[in-house]
Symmetry: C2
Subunit: 484 residues, 2 copies
């Protein structure tokens, strides 16, 4: 899209000076601490590598835009000079999508963090892309509103990151995932052109370019602002919990509840291994556990009755409501939870790595998907693989596996990690699932994208990438396997 | 994407013979009646032109594929020979999206009409793209299921057309629009490559290519199969109706109901002009009318109470339930309705054309959008402009205007038609709306797409089109203004 001739700079310092002169003072940093802290996101393999002292790809600079114009100036410069740009929200991605690249710059959007407007009549909020989830929630909660978007990372992730990585929150059964909340969007394309897609409840004016950017992981454009749908903040939540006689019976019950459309906000079914650690402190003994949550409003009594009746018909035993309250309270304590799941003080190196795989599929294939992916992971895992079903839909659900790998040293652990993922992806696709429900692709899953989309699907995505970013400056090496 | 060298045929007969040899016998028709009947869709301007004896663009052949392979062979041939292909479902589009082009072929999918599989566990149906809506509904209804997708055109439109033109049914408030129902997709790209996008409730494996094809109107690929989400068929429907004191008060009440999330299936607010003709036979006297419908299940009593309370607080008077039943029964009698709205026996020529414009916007701008578009249309219309609000969302709604233009002769009517649309689009965009909620773009609204998406947005869409269809063979002249 950009027609400007390429410029060549022989020295990095000249190259960066040519960027700095287009931006407000102080926007370009080469401070070593900033370069290091922006070299990776929360991808476990990168953390393992870092922990063992390996040098991760380091950007030559971190750019801190304060406006859409700053982002546009940076991308225009990047296309002209052929410099790679890695957009970064809050850096909580777990697949390497925000990992820096050598000789590139990281575009850190964290100063673009204003809540611009709340439109109560349309129940919508306009917000800059670098705004962190907890700040957005605070601003909305003060008005009695919420996005209803609660990823585990809510306090360490940003609105732009949610959209770029196709986030889904823990209450997505009630509020929808990020794409359902997205009304309007502003983004900057590779050449520096700004696209502003008007906020609308729906439009049939051509293919939805908003949706093309959802899940694009910074490879097609940089999201700078969004308008999201919001909902009234409920007064509180109600919880109930059950022990199905088996995980398979639990899946059938979860499906029944999802298809009855009983207005749940949260539905989580833990297999025995996951239930043991998640609810161990509550005295959970054995078997799976199903936790259901919903808004505590005047319909709560009806929902409670519906859910109880369905559980009873399915032969599931009641468990204390405290299961749900406990989970809700501790839902974002990922590290602590992982430690308990894995029974290790150390979650990372030497030789140890913990990761999660969140696949999804239709109900009719879900038991098979569970068995296939679990078996593939268990081949490599040093501890029992834990799994829970979450994010239920009328047509299917997500399965979230947590697993720990252990090698005699980090090199062995890394090889095992890569083999384990390769096998899990193959098992997932073989069982008709998708390799990601809400974590995205990044570097980790890029090798599996051809299997996911087919050769023609991948070629189509590459063609779109090539059209929108002909010089390949936007987050190279992410999402798409290899270089186009 | 296609690398085969272009071939040149000097004679049309040789060109078509080279296509026919790749397809089963009888797949390529040059029967004059078939060429004529596939020359246009239901775009009123094309019908006006036809009625006055003007020659519409006529394809050189109509191709009837019976399989995805036939579609692939046709598109490979088209890209090799540089021949334009106009995909056609059932031909009910109202914006010229399926109008034939000179020296092109029409790809009529009506023989690809099988319901392939019903997956009750996942509540999903797999269906060929040429399947008509009424046939799909019959197949599902026999199993106690429904798509819940009821466009007015349901008996004269196809699954592929729904997806390609981003259809929304009259009960979309309850069941979602076509994109919400779409789980998986098979499509053929310009060069003949087949992409198969697995059915999944959700995936974060990159940008959603399914969604790129939704609303693409045959310009990016030809949809051959889809998997759609289905729902239980309700036992029946319940209706209630009210007369708000003004259309503005009605908008406020509609918003209240949409945001209360009372599980409506249908919500329609008619302005005085529209109410007078839609409910005239029921003795409706003056003022607007709000009709609300929902499934007649055990929650119906609660919904009725919620809606009644909201209406009463808003000062709206109850109207007979027969309003809803009457509308539901006659909802697809478009021609009859138009006639009554417009008070004309003739809906088309000489000198007469009736059309509808369905815009959408956020609640906070909806009254302004209503006033602006209505005024722009009224400048040109020969009868009072009628409008109803439908398809409510938490963030906004659609406004559907019906208008009649009258010129002393057809040429004057055509000029007036084009000016009227130009002014309506400008008014819509000026008031922050989108120019199409569910009719799509076609030829009619292509000139307004730059205003809709901005220059950069349109350039991005053109770049995507160029990447996926480098020779521009897929439905040229539709969706995108001019030639790329």
């Amino acid at each position: 899209m950009n027609r400007a001739p390429a410029r060549h700079y022989h020295r990095r310092v000249d190259l960066l000076a040519s960027l700095a002169e287009r931006l407000p003072e102080g926007a370009v940093s080469t401070h070593p601490g900033e370069l290091t802290s922006r070299s990776r996101d929360a991808w476990p393999l990168a953390m393992l590598r870092e922990a063992r002292g390996e040098r991760l790809p380091r950007p030559m600079a971190v750019v801190f835009p304060r406006s859409t114009e700053d982002v546009a100036a940076t991308l225009a410069w990047a296309t002209e000079t052929g410099t790679a740009v890695v957009p970064r929200g809050a850096g909580s991605g777990v697949c390497g999508g925000a990992q820096a690249v050598w000789r590139g710059v990281v575009l850190d959007l964290s100063f673009m963090n204003r809540v611009l407007a709340i439109d109560r009549e349309s129940m919508a909020v306009e917000v800059e892309a670098g705004t962190r989830g907890d700040r957005l929630e605070s601003a909305l909660n003060r008005e009695g509103l919420t996005t209803g978007h609660y990823p585990q990372s809510v306090a360490i992730s940003s609105v732009g990151g949610w959209i770029a990585a196709r986030s889904a929150g823990q209450a997505s059964a009630g509020y929808g995932a990020i794409e359902d909340l997205l009304l309007g969007l502003e983004a900057v394309l590779a050449g520096g052109d700004v696209i502003t897609l008007r906020a609308t409840p729906r439009s049939a004016a051509g293919p939805d370019l908003r949706r093309l950017l959802v899940g694009s992981e910074g490879t097609l454009g940089v999201i700078t602002q969004a308008r999201l749908s919001v909902a009234p903040l409920p007064d509180g939540y109600r919880w109930c919990a059950f022990r199905p006689s088996s995980f398979a019976d639990g899946i059938a019950l979860a499906r029944d509840l999802a298809q009855r459309d009983v207005r749940l906000m949260v539905l989580r079914l833990y297999d025995e291994a996951d239930a043991a650690v998640t609810f161990g402190t509550l005295g959970h003994e054995d078997g799976p556990a199903l936790v259901v949550g919903f808004a505590d409003d005047r319909r709560a009594g009806d929902i409670l009755e519906d859910v109880g009746r369905a559980a009873s018909s399915a032969g599931a035993e009641p468990l204390p409501d405290a299961y749900g309250e406990h989970w809700w309270k501790h839902r974002n304590d990922a590290v602590d939870l992982y430690r308990r799941i894995m029974g290790e003080e150390r979650m990372l190196g030497p030789g140890v790595v913990v990761d999660s795989a969140e696949v999804a599929g239709l109900w009719s294939g879900l038991s098979r998907l569970y068995a296939a992916v679990r078996e593939a992971l268990a081949e490599h895992a040093a501890r029992p693989v834990a799994c829970h079903l979450s994010h239920p839909y009328r047509s299917g659900a997500s399965l979230y596996f947590t697993f720990l790998l252990h090698g005699d040293d980090d090199q062995v652990a890394e090889r095992r990690y890569l083999s384990c993922w390769r096998d899990a992806a193959r098992a997932c696709h073989g069982a008709g699932g998708t390799i990601s429900h809400h974590h995205g692709v990044g570097i980790l899953k890029a090798p599996f994208l051809e299997e996911e989309l087919g050769a023609a699907g991948l070629a189509a995505l590459r063609a779109v990438k090539g059209a929108l970013d002909p010089r390949g400056i936007l987050n190279p090496g992410k999402l798409l396997p290899g270089e186009p």
